[in-house]
């Protein structure tokens, strides 16, 4: 037993690609998933674009058992499908392992919003007897963890983490701890979807959304034209295993891969907005690097939080300059092609970073062309950049003061 947590399976659902291969191909080609909202009529809202996964790209009935459809929101259907794909990718059949040696820890930031909206409409429009019994859990932040656990027979240590965007990293950090403590396998990552009128209002209320109508111009993190972000839906589910176990599995003939090790993780919380103390993103990155036993100079690429607001972009750029020096490390912001997916976004960034480590290439920040010179960071724009990549740092900030950082390393 090494106690090391490695990623052996990926399941990806993104606005610009459903399935790991489709998503990765789209990223490298710079194909965007930002589009006008079709799920509901957005014409009455200031923001009308989102990273929406097209209905024809993800039809739940094709991927989720019929019995589960009446009791699941779209977000849970996505999580269940991505879990199936991650297990298949890892060449693991959960039925072959003891129930209590496998756990699941996912993050979520909105719950089953669309389901919840429908049942609230039933409650206030028709009466309490019209509310689905499944509303008791289908809206809940922990629902993805619970449904993944039940469907796959994972009865080991399980959790749900709610720290908005940062949650995607927090779930993986938590799962790494579970593996250190002796759990053989963890299903982790995050999925979010709240593209319904009720969810959309909640997003508007942050005041952080872009209202620019052109999909190519609306969400431009680190650009001089940055003017807010766009929400999206999707995320990634990952299979984490104890490294020694994977080695044994491969020795016995399993055809799986090791994408990389979760080598370090840390989370911090910002002081209140009116405080004189600085924000703590840099501190999170430093702690994660220390946890990985890595110096900043060893980091080959940073996957940025990429808020898309000038002040938040500068705060992140400042942390990067302080840690790595002016233009000291390549910075990736593939979120520009998907929007910000809540907790799913950070989990997707981890999947993307692992694919970068595998293929030794950094995807471009989509439509961002105006150089990020004023921020003093080396943002990868325009085309994919080939590079020798062994260590990646992924950063995420959750609305409300959450900061998390995760260090990934190529398999030894």
């Amino acid at each position: 037993m090494t106690g090391k947590a490695v990623v052996t399976g990926l399941g990806v659902i993104a606005p610009n690609g459903v399935g790991t291969k489709e998503y990765w191909t789209a990223l490298l080609r710079g194909h965007s998933g930002i589009r006008p909202i079709e799920r509901f009529d957005p014409s009455g809202y200031p923001t009308r674009l989102a990273g929406e996964v097209p209905e024809d790209a993800f039809s739940a009935a094709d991927h989720v058992p019929r019995r589960l459809l009446p009791q699941t929101d779209r977000v849970t259907r996505m999580a269940l499908a991505a879990t199936d794909w991650a297990f298949a990718d890892a060449a693991v059949d959960p039925a072959d392992l003891p129930d209590f040696e496998m756990g699941v820890a996912t993050a979520n930031s909105a719950g089953g919003y669309e389901f919840g909206q429908r049942e609230l409409q039933n409650l206030w429009g028709s009466g309490p007897e019209y509310v689905s019994a499944y509303q008791s859990f289908a809206w809940f932040y922990a629902v993805n963890t619970g449904q993944i656990s039940i469907r796959n027979g994972l009865r080991g240590p399980s959790a749900a983490l709610v720290t908005e965007q940062a949650g995607g990293l927090d779930a993986l950090g938590h799962s790494r701890r579970s593996i250190r403590k002796g759990t053989a396998l963890m299903v982790s990552g995050a999925m979010d979807s709240s593209l319904c009128p009720w969810g959309w209002i909640a997003h508007q209320s942050t005041g952080l959304l872009s209202t620019r109508p052109d999909p190519e111009q609306a969400y431009l993190p680190f650009s001089e034209l940055a003017c807010g972000h766009l929400p999206g839906e999707g995320g990634a589910i990952l299979v984490l295993e104890e490294a020694g176990r994977v080695r044994d599995r491969i020795a016995r003939g399993a055809t799986t891969q090791v994408y990389g090790e979760i080598a370090g993780y840390a989370a911090t919380f910002d002081p209140p907005p009116d405080s004189d103390r600085p924000d703590t993103l840099r501190r999170a990155a430093e702690l994660a690097l220390a946890d990985a036993g890595a110096e900043p100079g060893e980091v080959d690429v940073v996957f940025a939080d990429a808020a898309g607001n000038p002040a938040a972009d500068e705060a992140e750029a400042r942390a990067l300059r302080e840690l790595f020096g002016e233009r000291g490390v390549p910075v990736a912001a593939p979120k520009a092609l998907t929007g910000r997916l809540g907790s799913g976004g950070a989990a997707l960034d981890v999947a993307t970073a692992l694919l970068s480590l595998r293929d030794q290439v950094i995807p471009p920040a989509g439509p961002v062309t105006a150089a990020a010179d004023r921020h003093g960071i080396d943002l990868v724009v325009g085309a994919p950049r080939s590079a020798r990549l062994r260590t990646a740092l992924v950063l995420a900030r959750g609305h409300g003061g959450f900061n998390s950082a995760l260090v990934l390393r190529t398999p030894a």
Binding site: P65, R67, Q71, E129, S132, A133, Y134, S136
Partner: protein
Amino acid sequence: MSEAVQEPLSLEDLVTVLRESAGEDEEVDLSGDIADVPFSDLGYDSLALLETAGRVQRQYGIVLDDEAMAAAETPRLFLTAVNEVLCGAASNAG
């Protein structure tokens, strides 16, 4: 209204409501003779039956006793419990 409640609930009706409210296990054939097959073997848990009972109450305008419904472990017992109430509702209406 009273016309509608006088029709007893049939097994076919129940299967329709089950499918709508709780989905359907791909490995179970609901079109067969399932009257005495426990709901658990058909892939329906207590919550699924709560949801199903809720739909029956709304469609038929009746109130079912939670404990009586919880004790109905097969479609036949479920139908008996519902139809007893339906008959009562019909005779009250008459």
